[in-house]
Amino acid sequence: MSEQLQEVLKKQKEQLNSSLLDKDKKEEEIVQLVGFMVGREEYAVPILSIQEIIKPIDYTRVPQTPPYVLGVFNLRGNVLPLVDLRIKFNAPNTEQSEDMRYIVIKDKENVAGFVIDQITEAIRLNEKRIENPPETLKNSNSAISGIGKRENSIITILKVDELLKRDF
């Protein structure tokens, strides 16, 4: 193989890499989230971590699990765990409402469904408006990645990998 050709290839690769990096940088400033209600509080997760949002369907209880693990459900042929965030976050368990949804959240390896009371909206938030969780919360609840400040409310942003991690 000629050295010239390799040189050219190498340069191309570098260019590609750097352009990708630029892109990342621009998008880092605006974070896109999906907000939802659990009890009376509003939470959010990054929009890209959401696979889909579905209406509640039947699930099967799995024994030997904590109460917040409701069981498993069938999502088009895949068996996924179902976690009730209302129980997990000690939110008052409101009556079954029409707005209740399962949000199916995924990371690289895992995917699971989470029961929430209501989807609010898709949120675009400047990264500068997201603060680290207060010290007092940091230890007790590691699932919080940050607090987003909006015009007239604040929103708890959750860590996807913590949500999907088995903690029992």
């Binding site: 099967t60 799995v62 024994p63 459900f73 069938n74 042929g77 068996v79």
Partner: protein, 783 residues
């Protein structure tokens, strides 16, 4: 470099197979020392491996095989007699070859692994020289040998090729860049061609070897004799080989997954067809639909079997190493043991074949060491001094059975029990209640060994425990049968495949579970008073066995919705040598299920092996029989006791509780007034749905339900049939109170399970009478 890696991988696969073959041939050779054909083939293997490894610069391996080749070559030409001692050395060197190959696989070279071949090479050399004192050094004898062999045996020719390859390496350095480029191109192309050829027919390893050589050699003029070699070689080998292609296991796994989806779809289709059939009975299109459904279902089943078959391997893959194992063992233990194998062609799923090797090794070791007595004892007992171990594989239904039988001493259950008590493996109490079969099962307990002294073979008390775990992981069952003085038989029953299986679906309260059918021994229906309690545990006496019983709903903390009736269903599950009776509330049926993982999040839940999707789209959990057995010992079940506590509660009329379901407030008021003198507690519901929810919630226990027929949302008929779905409410009095008096209405009422049919208007006394009769109110309470 990638190409090189590929060549090495090819080499490893090939060499692995060859060495396996060699192992077998050598043991065979010991029995037929005169078989020249066998010797030749062994020699060729050593030679081939030597050739390839030197080409790939695995010097240690080359050196080792070179020395082996020496010995074998002499034996082949009748200059050396193969004695057991020499055989030991040769076999030892085969083991080293295996080690080296393993090292190459892991590290990419054979020098770092620390396998020391010097000693063995010396021994090989001595063996080679032992009979032929004329040549002082085997290396020297090598050259003349080659020339002699050259004309008669084609394989030796490679020796030259290797030499030329070394020369060639130097050649390359003189070439200009372009020439090198062109050369690489050409070599790659040739490699490609070779591969294609390989795909078409699985060639004899030696032929492939030649081809590789040719790539390197091609710079030189290819000799005419060289061309002839593969032609001469292949006919006799190729004729016995089938047409095959190698496929990545990953692809087959993917295919298997897809089939799994298809099976689920099929189940779903069958279920829908059933529903449709019920609804449109007699319609013409049903027949057509039936045709389609059944043909789809048949094709799916065939397809599933076909794909399963592609993953099947004959058990001979595992069995092949056993003759060698037994041979080594018999020498080590100083016993004369014959291994008689049959059914090697029986096929099993690849993943299972890989798993059963170790357990069988342990069991054979066990049979040789503990089972077979030494020659002296055997003769004293009037047996043939030669011990026999039989290894047999055969299909039985959906399972494969592997039988390991010896004609040794057999097992003494009393001796086992005493030994186990001594070692603290079981308590004397446990020993008392043990059957012979259970006593045999002791040998699978961790920390138990009956061998008087620890030998290299056994006695450490680890092996059999591992056997049990491995077999259990495969959903297998171990069956032991032994007769003192005559021998012991172990039967391993293993399912054919792991991905799709037959399961028994059972219900526990309102939940469903799937139990692998391979672990289900039988199902029985018993009455509650057949259950005994021993030491706080429920047991069932079934024929001559005593089984511990546990309720499935207790194991899995199923929410209690209703009581089971007097008769209960017991599913008897067996795993390895253990048995357990599982009390379930209903048997749903047998179904083919596809195992789905529940992901990292829910992995390893005790007692649950996975999940499956049923025909109706719902998820059903698959039980892990091994874990259930473990869980069962922790559950303190009280199946028969709870019934008694129920009986005592009712001592005054107000303890009796009835539910009135009627949409009209006036009607409810009339009924209440009529029943007031009874002094019983009365609840109300305004329609079927509400009533059903009250009943289902289980907060109140009703003794009878008065049902109006015409109601909004859910009528009385539907309510009655819903209630009857619960086995707990099978005998709950349901009293229809209606103004519908026609015969067909009455008939319908009986159909859905109404106990009484009261027509309006009724007299208060009549109603009171009927109600008190149905709730079995004590007469004295009526005052």
């Amino acid at each position: 470099m990638e190409d090189m890696q590929e060549i090495i991988e090819d080499f490893l696969v090939e060499a692995g197979e060859l060495v396996e073959q060699m192992d077998q041939d050598l043991v065979e050779l010991e029995n037929n020392p005169e078989d020249l054909e066998l010797l030749n083939s062994i020699f060729r293997v050593a030679h081939t491996v030597k050739g390839s490894s030197s080409f790939l610069n695995f010097d240690v391996l080359t050196e080792l095989t070179h020395h082996m080749e020496d010995v074998l070559n002499k034996a082949r030409r009748d200059e050396l007699k193969i004695t057991p001692e020499i055989m030991d050395i040769v076999l030892k060197s085969v083991d080293m070859m295996k080690e080296l190959l393993e090292a190459i696989k892991n590290d990419g070279n054979d020098t770092d692994c620390g396998v020391d071949i010097e000693d063995i090479c010396q021994k090989l050399q001595m063996a080679a020289n032992g009979k032929e004192l004329s040549s002082s050094n085997s290396i020297e004898t090598e050259e003349p040998n080659q020339e002699i062999v050259d004309s008669s045996n084609e394989t030796n020719e490679e020796e030259f090729d290797i030499d030329t390859s070394a020369v060639e390496d130097e050649d390359y350095s003189h070439l200009s860049d372009e020439e090198v480029e062109a050369e690489i191109q050409r070599l790659l192309q040739e490699k490609q061609e070779e591969k294609e050829q390989k795909k078409r027919t699985k060639k004899s390893p030696i032929k492939k070897e030649e081809n590789k050589k040719e790539i390197v050699k091609s710079e030189q003029k290819s000799s005419a004799s060289k061309k002839e070699t593969p032609a001469k070689k292949s006919p006799n080998k190729a004729s016995t080989l089938e047409q095959t292609i190698r496929v990545e296991v990953k692809r087959l796994d993917h295919l298997m997954n897809l089939i799994g989806e298809l099976v689920l779809g099929k189940n779903r289709l069958l279920k829908i067809y059933d529903d449709v059939e019920e609804r449109y009975d007699g319609e013409k299109f049903l027949e057509e639909l039936n045709n389609v459904v059944s043909s789809v279902s048949m094709v799916t089943t065939d397809l599933q079997i076909a794909v399963m078959k592609t993953r099947m391997l004959p058990v001979s893959k595992v069995f092949n190493k056993f003759p060698r194992l037994v041979r080594d063992l018999s020498r080590e233990l100083n016993k004369d043991i014959d291994l008689i194998m049959s059914g090697e062609e029986t096929e099993l799923d690849k993943s299972i074949v890989e798993e059963i090797g170790d357990p069988i090794v342990h069991m054979i070791r066990n049979s040789c060491d503990h089972g077979i007595e030494d020659a002296k004892t055997r003769v004293e007992n009037g047996k043939d001094p030669k011990g026999r171990v039989y290894l047999k594989a055969y299909n039985e239904g959906n399972q494969i059975v592997i039988e390991i039988k010896d004609d040794g001493a057999g097992m003494d259950p009393e001796f086992l029990k005493n030994k186990a008590i001594e070692k603290g493996v079981i308590t004397p109490d446990e020993a008392q209640s043990m059957s012979d079969k259970e006593a045999y099962g002791i040998i699978f307990k961790p920390g138990f060994s009956t061998a008087a002294k620890v030998t290299g073979v056994s006695g450490r008390g680890v092996g059999m425990d591992v056997v049990k775990t491995n077999i259990e992981n495969l959903n297998g069952v171990i069956d032991i049968d032994s007769k003192l003085g005559e021998g012991t038989t172990f039967k391993l029953r293993i399912p054919l495949t792991l991905a799709i299986m037959q399961a028994l679906l059972v219900s526990a309260q309102e939940e469903y579970f799937a139990i692998p059918l391979s672990s289900v021994l039988e199902t029985v229906r018993i009455s509650k008073n057949e259950i005994y309690t021993i030491g706080g545990k429920n047991v069932l006496k079934l024929r001559d066995e005593v089984l511990s019983l546990v309720r499935l709903s207790d194991l899995f903390d199923v929410e209690k919705v209703f009581d089971s009736s007097d008769h209960i269903y017991v599913v008897i599950i067996g795993l390895a040598e253990n048995k357990l009776g599982l009390v379930v509330d209903g048997l749903v049926g047998q179904e083919e299920i596809v195992i789905k993982s529940m992901g990292e999040y829910l992995k390893g839940i005790e007692g649950i092996a996975g999940a499956t999707i049923r025909g109706d789209g719902r998820v059903t959990l698959i039980t892990d029989v091994a874990a259930m057995m473990k869980l069962a010992s922790q559950v303190d079940a009280v199946i028969s006791e709870e019934e008694q506590t129920k009986e005592v509660v009712k001592n005054s009329p107000s303890d009796y509780h009835i539910l009135i379901v009627d949409d009209s407030r006036t009607d409810r008021a009339i009924m209440k007034r009529a029943l007031k003198p009874l002094g019983i507690t009365i609840s109300e519901a305004t329609n079927g749905v509400e009533a059903l929810n009250i009943i289902k919630s289980g907060d109140k226990d009703f003794d009878a339900i008065l049902v109006d027929i015409e109601m909004p949302r859910m009528d009385g008929y539907t309510l009655a049939s819903e209630i009857r779905k619960y086995s707990k409410y099978k005998y709950l009095p349901l009293l229809a109170i209606t103004s519908r008096t026609s015969k067909s209405d009455r008939l319908r009422g009986i159909e859905v399970g109404m106990t009484e049919y009261i027509t309006k208007p009724y007299s208060e006394d009549y109603l009171m009478d009927i109600v008190s009769k149905n709730i079995k109110l004590p007469q004295g309470a009526l005052s």
